[in-house]
């Protein structure tokens, strides 16, 4: 009997087949206006982060006597309270923010996908152990969980990454578990089993490829969220420590001198907003292109 779920999965599998090449996916993404805007923003931020040492006009930590200089003079976007160039700091901040988010979401995806595959494919004891733990972590408000870990371990880049990885694992485990459970019951998996394929092969050959679409969507929206939480913890003084520039700590410094100049507050805030917006737009479009079933669902 063909159920609705079966049909959707087949449709999805066929779509995925069509989209197998990165070029085809790129075409689909850019055909959508929203997707094109999202992708452009993400590429722009990535380029800014990668090329920061080449394109930044000044050393981001070099102080000058032009404290709180307005934009336009020596410094294109103005200077902060120590006379440091805001543009250079924003570019290097992109580096920090993107690097932390990519490492965090990459690690969380690796662990979460593995846990989700184990729980969803094998079920039984593994599922009974893994799923309640991830559910409880999911029930803990995200920022609070990250705060708790950073509070215990102390501020700093490594602890920030550890905290955020812990926070992001459950959402990946959840998404992959669901797909693994539904794919496991598909006729092609059963026939694979019948011809004697090992479980590991079944997972790599069938279950994982069918989970790629939801993982890709989760990955992109998680990056947006990671940028936001990294900035929040940075603002609270619990993230990447000075003198390394980060958007969150730039904002928190800027706020103290708001009455004298608003630019040290505007520049990093705008950067965070644009980056988050870019990844959100890209994630939304990816969801529409890759996985029509997820349309309209709100992210955590």
């Amino acid at each position: 009997m063909v159920t609705e779920v079966d049909t959707v999965t087949e449709v999805q599998a066929r779509r995925l087949g069509r989209l197998r090449t990165a070029g085809a996916l790129l075409r689909q993404l850019t055909r959508d206006k929203v997707g094109a805007v999202g992708l452009s923003i993400v590429l722009l931020i990535a380029a800014a982060a990668a090329l920061a040492p080449l394109i930044a006009p000044y050393d981001p930590t070099a102080m000058s006597n032009q404290r709180l200089a307005q934009p336009g003079g020596t410094f294109l976007l103005g200077a902060d309270e120590a006379g440091r160039d805001l543009l250079s700091r924003a570019l290097y901040g992109a580096r920090t923010s993107l690097a932390v988010s990519l490492v965090v979401v990459g690690c969380a995806a690796a662990v979460g996908v593995l846990l989700g595959l184990l729980a969803g494919f094998y079920g039984g004891f593994l599922d009974a152990v893994i799923t309640p733990v991830t559910d409880i972590m999911f029930a803990f408000p995200t920022l609070l969980l990250a705060l708790a870990v950073v509070a215990a371990r102390g501020p700093g880049t490594e602890n920030l990454i550890l905290a955020l990885v812990l926070v992001f694992i459950p959402s990946f485990a959840r998404v992959v578990r669901g797909t693994a459970m539904s794919v496991r019951r598909e006729p092609f998996v059963e026939s694979g089993q019948a011809v004697g394929l090992s479980n590991a092969r079944l997972i790599v050959k069938y279950v994982l490829p069918n989970s790629i679409a939801p993982i890709a969507v989760q990955f992109t929206t998680s990056i947006a969220y990671a940028i936001l939480i990294e900035a929040s913890l940075g603002y609270l003084g619990l993230g990447v420590q000075p003198p390394q520039p980060s958007w969150g700590s730039m904002l928190s410094n800027g706020k103290a001198f708001m009455e004298l100049s608003i630019w040290p507050s505007v520049v990093p805030g705008l950067c965070i907003m644009i980056a988050v917006l870019g990844f959100n737009l890209l994630g939304d479009t990816l969801r529409d292109v890759l996985d029509p079933r997820l349309r309209g669902r709100t992210n955590r």
Binding site: P132, V133, D135, I136, M137, A139, F140, P141, T142, L143, L144, L145, L147, A148, V149, V150, A151, A152, R153, G154, A224, L228, A231, S232, Y235, L236, G237, L238, L251, G254, K255, M258, E259, I262, S265, V266, P268, G269, I272, M273, I274, V276, L277, N280, L281, G296, T298
Partner: protein
Amino acid sequence: MLRITLIRSLTVVPVLFGISVISFLVIRMIPGDVISSIMGQDFGDPAVEAEMRRYFGLDMPVHEQFFTWFGDLLRGDLGTSMRTGQPVLDEILQRLPSTLLLAISALLVAVLLSIPLGILSATRRNGPLDAVARVVSLIGLSVPNFWLGILLVYVFSVSLGWLPSQGASEGGGLLDNVRYLVLPAVTLGASLAAINMRMTRSSMLEVLNQDYVRTARAKGLAERVIMVRHALRNSLIPVVTVLGIELGALLGGTVIVEQVFAWPGLGTMVIRGISQRDYPVVQGTLLFLAFFYVLVNYLVDLVYTYLDPRLRSGH
């Protein structure tokens, strides 16, 4: 209904227990332990440290520490602040009203902004108003709330001088209280308003496509009656659920917004605890907020089941 209530209540218990375990374990992630972390290089006298460790029960095996801590927790004892010597629960209860006031005001801001905008956006689908509302909500979703707070302070406190930039009213009248509350509440409520506007819009569009709306139109009911009686009431069910769930999330969001506005609630208490390494305060407050979050979600779930009969039969 009673059976469902009981079943749902039973599922909440393991989650609360799990959250307690996480809170307990997190504090054990401190490099070294609480005592060496607090004393650091200041004291370093091994005899004093050992005495402290005994006093706080840290010389026991971990599982015994957990059961002692959990037993205290069940009696409502969240420990004592290492800095003020006051019971943590007392400090929490003292500050809870401020945080609740902020969270509820933010919810109110979100509702007042999002539901009318969502309805207008849905009924004028693809028009200019719809486009503007959708762009604004998308931006609202991406703006970090602490940045929005800073910008609002700059405009309304620093430049215009209309509203106070931080703190809370002390013994002032209602109007004075409101003046202090406006900026933090708008800051906290903005992203929720954005999420909720999108939700109201899509829910309203879905309902407007239903057969019963077509029937209502076919029998010649006025558009206003269709909107209010048929569409709005039905489309608000999922919206109310999201709002309820978000009230829990707002309590988490208060941590950072309170910091921006120096609002005397639980958020500033946690951050102060972190900077002073007052671990019982940090652990107690985070646990309290997480419990609150789970309980609010559970209550919303129950209310939702009550409102929507389809869920009662398990479909």
